[in-house]
């Protein structure tokens, strides 16, 4: 069985937020909830400053803290490595949000329409998979993956900076990129073994 993972090439990422928008459209999250975000932060001082981009999403950890703390079993890790939330079982206690190392979970507490007070046809047809009062997050577009496609953020990335595949296959592109380019995870010291890797901006280094 595959262990699905993602690789994001920070050398190519330009912070355009196409991934954020692709996720928005694919998953129809309510206004204010973005399952994928691009963090933007500065390092250095003028005129040697840099702006850094860090797309973040659920890391689909191999050892997810969220699963450990979920009282109802709503959060579970599939055999293929994707961590999902069954919103029928979720009671909205939000313990998982506290436990998540990467702050990648969101509480759907209110319907916030895209255009003030009016539901567009898009929202009417696509938002019923969300359930008020539950926690939700990126699921690697699990239905698309089931159908042999890639997550929307990967498909649409303007910079061709995102990859998806089987981390357990040493010959897969994701595995080769991690090996050849020195892929790294965020906060490895938390020992959750995330499935999202980043490629550094410079050879062998990271910002």
């Amino acid at each position: 069985m595959a262990r699905y993972g993602m690789v994001i090439d920070l050398k190519r990422c330009l912070g355009c937020d196409t991934c954020t928008m692709a996720c928005k459209a694919a998953n129809a999250t309510t206004r204010g909830i973005l399952w994928n975000r691009v963090l933007k932060y500065e390092t250095g001082k003028y005129p040697s400053a840099k702006l850094n981009y860090l797309p973040v999403l659920c890391m689909h950890c191999k050892e997810p803290e969220c699963e450990k703390v979920c009282p109802t079993g709503a959060t579970s890790k599939r055999e293929d490595g994707i961590v999902v939330v069954d919103n029928e079982k979720c009671v909205g206690c939000r313990y998982c949000m506290l436990a998540c190392v990467y702050a990648s979970r969101y509480f759907y507490d209110e319907v916030r329409t895209f255009y003030s007070g009016q539901l567009t046809p898009f929202e009417q047809i696509k938002q019923d998979k969300h359930r008020l009062g539950t926690v939700e997050k990126c699921d690697f577009c699990s239905e698309r993956v089931q159908a042999g496609q890639e997550p929307s953020c990967v498909v649409s990335c303007t910079g061709h900076a995102r990859y998806f595949g089987n981390l357990d296959d040493p010959n897969s592109e994701v595995s080769r990129l991690i090996k050849d380019r020195g892929g790294f995870v965020l906060n490895p010291e938390m020992n959750t073994d995330p499935s999202v890797y980043y490629l550094p901006t410079e050879q062998g280094g990271r910002d």
């Binding site: 196409t18 898009f122 303007t158």
Partner: protein
């Protein structure tokens, strides 16, 4: 990097299911395919209520990203890129996807409207009443018919980036021999009005390229080979997430290309670059002049062969500043240093073109043009430029040295058996951030000189031809003086007095657009010598009240026009000033086609020589809207200029270059789709139709790949010359002076007339302008503006789009006023503090973002937010409105050559109480 990398992974990863394996191999290298190609056919039926159709995005002016638009029970639910399209190769930008929310925007105009309140303003209730389409069209047609009979000049037609695809309004740049200025706009030309107005003079970046390269709109970077790119005030794609331009840029960076950005702020592109040169805005001209000085006086190294054989550098110049001509043939003369005598420029016995020295001929002193250029550059030392730009002199020297070294002067490359000079550098000087300044055109011309000095012109790696007419024999064709034939804006409009054009094109002969002058002329027709008054305006995709400057003056100018008709997507300022409103389709609702125009940013072999058409299948319109072309055809038919010689059909034949059986019969009424069908067949052959294009999404062919994609190929060696001495510009100034004197008039609104003429000299020179040297000391900062992925334009109503609004409000930089952190500290201003920003021309408010990413003397405001109307969405009112800080007053803000204005005035910033 192969665009199929993810699919390739999927093939190898057997635990994933993969579909369409056979189709994958077709995507690997588009350019190796011969003949016409197309995408896989879209599904012909729905499955469980779900399907997808081909479309293409119109989230920016490029409109060349093919998409798959996914529908569920008729509702648009997702947008992805089409992997079979050679441009975007399966990718999209945020705006393409956000098109879904543009379609479903409840703040759209839904029905035809007529105003009942005669008082007009963006925040005044028009008293709209709904009318039928028949009433709307008949009212407009009757009015326009009367105007056409009396004086067609009295109708002005606006075109803007709200309608970049509408053929009857935007089809131009087709045949450079047809019209001097832009080609022509079909509908206004058929109507008979000279008053084509463009809502975009903050990108007047064409003159210099029209003149020196013979093509339109500007020169771009050949990223296949470029190794060193200097990018002043522009983007090669990343700053606006231009999909395929971004990929090519990133690929070039991975290949090792160095990018030097000359920009007051650190952009996404600069972030990936080699050097960031934070320059004071509006001083880029000083930087360019210092580069030329450094080349001549310090490095003393340039491409002598290129200058001698492919520029007018050796042409002898007389005391009057013009070519010194042979008395018998009138041909420009050069000096053969080997034989120590003058010869005509085309004398093939010349052994050595002199670039330096002084000679006496017929009792007058003459000099090679390059000698005069060098003399003029003497004062422009790096130290001089350092004072003006704030860049260290050492940096200016270092970048110039690196530029010349990377140019590999003397090197060659063989492409398809043809040997080209290889010059892998470009000074990409046609960016609006640097050119929309007081002396912006002179800056662009100085940039041309820099490229010419190293021979990086129309050869691999260098500054290369854009799109009109593109790589072909016509582009670099020499004129009677042996110099590249100028086109379009560089030719200059004919002078007429009294003027015909309401935006004073007669006085601003080379301008791209001067709506700010139009507004003033409407308010003071006598001062502007306007012999008539506008009766009507027809707006097709422009909103100059917001997107230009002088908002108040523009509104007052609009009020002077008795009858305003607008094709409206939303209730923007122009719509709110209208008398009749035609609600138009959102782009997702238009079944249409787009013929590929080479981008404004860059190219490489993946798109070199590409001829392509994209097809869009509409979703069912939500409201009582129509396609702009359909209404334009109906009005033209009723008014009487659809058919017959000079009518719409006749001009469509010309603009679409329809031949033989594809030509429209002049006396038959066609739909726009029938016209498009003929164009598809004309370009690709009769095996392909519009219907075929819609089914397959894309049709393409590589007409001029490889060596054919470089203009040098058609006029190699010494067969043509680029102007490096701009004799033509001097002539323009003299012609204008002569015309003013002849008619005993002055330029409107120039207190000191000589300030205007200072610009019309044949050698770029330093002109500071009122912002650089005239602002009182209390205006101690500069301000600059840039486009972003969320809003490169207002096209497709990016401002009201709810998804773009959500993302930009979540962005830590987008909706803020950028200020250098140290500067803010000195001013005791805090992060997120609300401040006023005030220029001498207006003021605006915003929230500060303290940052290290901007020059300490500069504040920056992204995009064009903050200006709105009473009928637009709450999202549209957020943000800082930049344009209010600018002025279009001629002798203060304008570049007299291009008609553009200074986009970076001096400002002061203080706490808002």
């Amino acid at each position: 990097m192969e665009q199929t990398k993810n699919a390739a992974t999927a093939v190898k990863d057997t635990s994933l299911k993969v579909q369409e394996l056979a189709a994958l191999s077709k995507r690997l290298d588009f350019t190796k395919r011969k003949g016409v190609h197309w995408g896989i056919p879209m599904p012909s039926e729905t499955k469980n209520g779900e399907t997808w159709v081909y479309g293409y995005c119109m989230g920016c002016m490029q409109a060349d990203c093919s998409t798959k638009n996914f529908l569920k029970d008729g509702t648009l639910v997702n947008v992805e890129g089409n992997p079979d399209c050679p441009t975007n190769q399966g990718k999209v930008c945020p705006r393409a996807i956000a098109g879904i929310m543009g379609l479903y925007n409840p703040y759209r105009v839904k029905v035809p409207l007529m105003r009942t309140n005669p008082e007009k303003g963006p925040d005044i209730d028009p008293g709209w009443v709904e009318i039928t389409w028949e009433e709307a069209i008949s009212t407009v047609s009757e009015r326009f018919k009367k105007i056409r009979q009396e004086d067609p000049r009295k109708l002005a037609v606006w075109e803007g980036w709200g309608a970049p695809e509408t053929f009857l309004i935007t089809c131009k740049e087709i045949d450079k021999s047809v019209d001097y200025q832009y080609g022509f706009l079909i509908w206004p030309k058929a109507f008979g009005t000279p008053n084509e107005l463009f809502g975009r003079n903050l990108c007047a970046i064409h003159y210099a390229t029209n003149l020196t390269h013979g093509h339109m709109p500007e020169y771009i970077s050949d990223l296949e080979h470029c190794k060193y790119l200097i990018a002043p005030g522009r983007t090669s794609g990343p700053n606006v997430a231009s999909t395929h331009a971004t990929k090519r840029f990133l690929d070039a960076i991975e290949r090792g290309m160095k990018v030097v950005t000359l920009d007051p702020r650190l952009s996404p592109e600069g972030n990936k670059g080699y050097k960031w040169l934070p320059v004071r805005p509006g001083t880029e001209l000083a930087f360019a002049l210092a580069m030329i000085h450094t080349i001549f006086f310090e490095l003393k190294k340039f491409d002598e062969w290129f200058v001698k054989n492919r520029t007018n550098g050796p042409y002898l110049i007389g005391p009057d500043g013009h070519y010194f001509r042979d008395s018998a043939t009138k041909k420009p003369l050069v000096w053969d240093a080997a034989e120590d005598k003058a010869k005509t420029f085309d004398d093939r016995t010349v052994k050595d073109y002199a670039l330096w020295g002084e000679h006496t001929m017929d009792g007058v002193k003459v000099h090679p043009a390059l000698q005069l250029i060098k003399d003029r550059m003497r004062e422009y030392t790096p130290e001089w430029a350092a004072e003006i730009t704030s860049l260290p002199a050492a940096t200016i020297r270092e970048v110039t040295k690196e530029f010349v070294e990377h140019a590999q002067i003397g090197s060659t490359i063989e492409i398809d058996g043809f040997t080209f000079p290889l010059r892998p550098v470009q000074f990409a000087g046609s960016g609006r951030g640097a050119v929309s300044q007081r002396a912006g055109t002179l800056f662009d011309l100085a940039g041309k000189i820099i490229n010419e000095l190293v021979g990086a012109v129309e050869v691999p790696g260098g500054a290369t031809g854009n799109r009109c007419p593109g790589p072909c024999a016509g582009t670099l064709q020499p004129n009677e003086d042996g110099v590249v034939t100028p086109i379009m804006e560089s030719i200059g409009g004919p002078f007429k007095f009294p003027p015909d054009h309401v935006a004073m094109n007669e006085f601003y002969a080379h301008s791209h657009a001067t709506p700010q002058v139009m507004a003033r002329a409407l308010l003071n027709p006598e001062k502007y010598y306007l012999p008539y008054e506008l009766e009507a305006m027809l707006n097709c995709g422009a909103n100059s009240i917001r997107s230009q400057m002088d908002r108040g003056i523009m509104i007052e100018g609009f009020k002077k026009v008795p009858f305003i008709v607008t094709f409206a997507l939303n209730y923007d300022e122009t719509t709110m000033m209208s008398d009749i409103v035609f609600p138009e389709h959102h782009f997702m609702e238009r079944t249409y086609a787009r013929f590929y125009l080479v981008t404004h940013q860059n190219l490489d072999d993946s798109v070199r020589g590409l001829a392509m058409a994209l097809g869009r299948n509409a979703v069912k319109p939500l409201f009582d809207t129509r396609l702009m072309d359909d209404v334009l055809i109906e009005i033209a038919d009723r008014v009487g200029f659809l058919k017959g010689p000079g009518g719409i059909n006749d001009l469509v034949n010309l603009a679409f270059q329809l031949k033989g059986e594809h030509k429209l019969d002049l006396d038959t009424r066609y739909t726009i789709h029938e016209m498009i069908d003929r164009r598809v067949r004309q370009v690709f052959g009769d095996a392909y139709s519009f219907e075929y294009l819609l089914k397959h999404g894309v049709l393409y062919r590589f007409d001029t790949p490889g060596k054919l994609g470089y203009n040098y190929y058609y006029w190699p060696d010494n067969k043509t010359r680029h102007p490096i001495y701009f004799d033509r510009l001097k002539k323009s100034g003299e012609k204008m002076r002569g015309n003013l004197e002849k008619n005993n008039i002055k330029l409107p609104n120039w207190e000191d007339q000589e300030e205007y003429f200072k610009f019309f000299e044949p050698i770029p020179h330093w002109i500071a302008g009122p912002e650089v040297e005239g602002a009182p000391p209390e205006y101690d900062l500069w301000i600059c503006n840039w486009k972003t992925p969320f809003m490169p334009h207002g096209t497709a109503d990016t401002q009201q789009n709810a998804w773009l609004a959500e993302l930009r409000e979540a962005d830590p930089y987008e909706m803020f006023v950028w200020m250098n952190a140290e500067t803010a500290g000195k001013k005791k201003l805090l992060d997120e503090e609300v401040v006023w920003i005030e220029s001498r021309w207006g003021k605006t408010k915003g929230k500060l973002k303290l940052t290290e990413l901007i020059h300490p003397e500069v504040v920056g405001v992204p995009a064009c937010y903050g200006a709105s109307t009473m009928m637009m969405s709450p999202d549209s009112k957020k943000g800082t409105y930049y344009n209010i800080l600018l002025t279009g007053k001629e002798d203060v803000g304008m570049d007299p050559i291009s008609g553009s204005v200074t986009v970076s005035p001096k400002v002061k910033v203080y706490k808002a109480k």
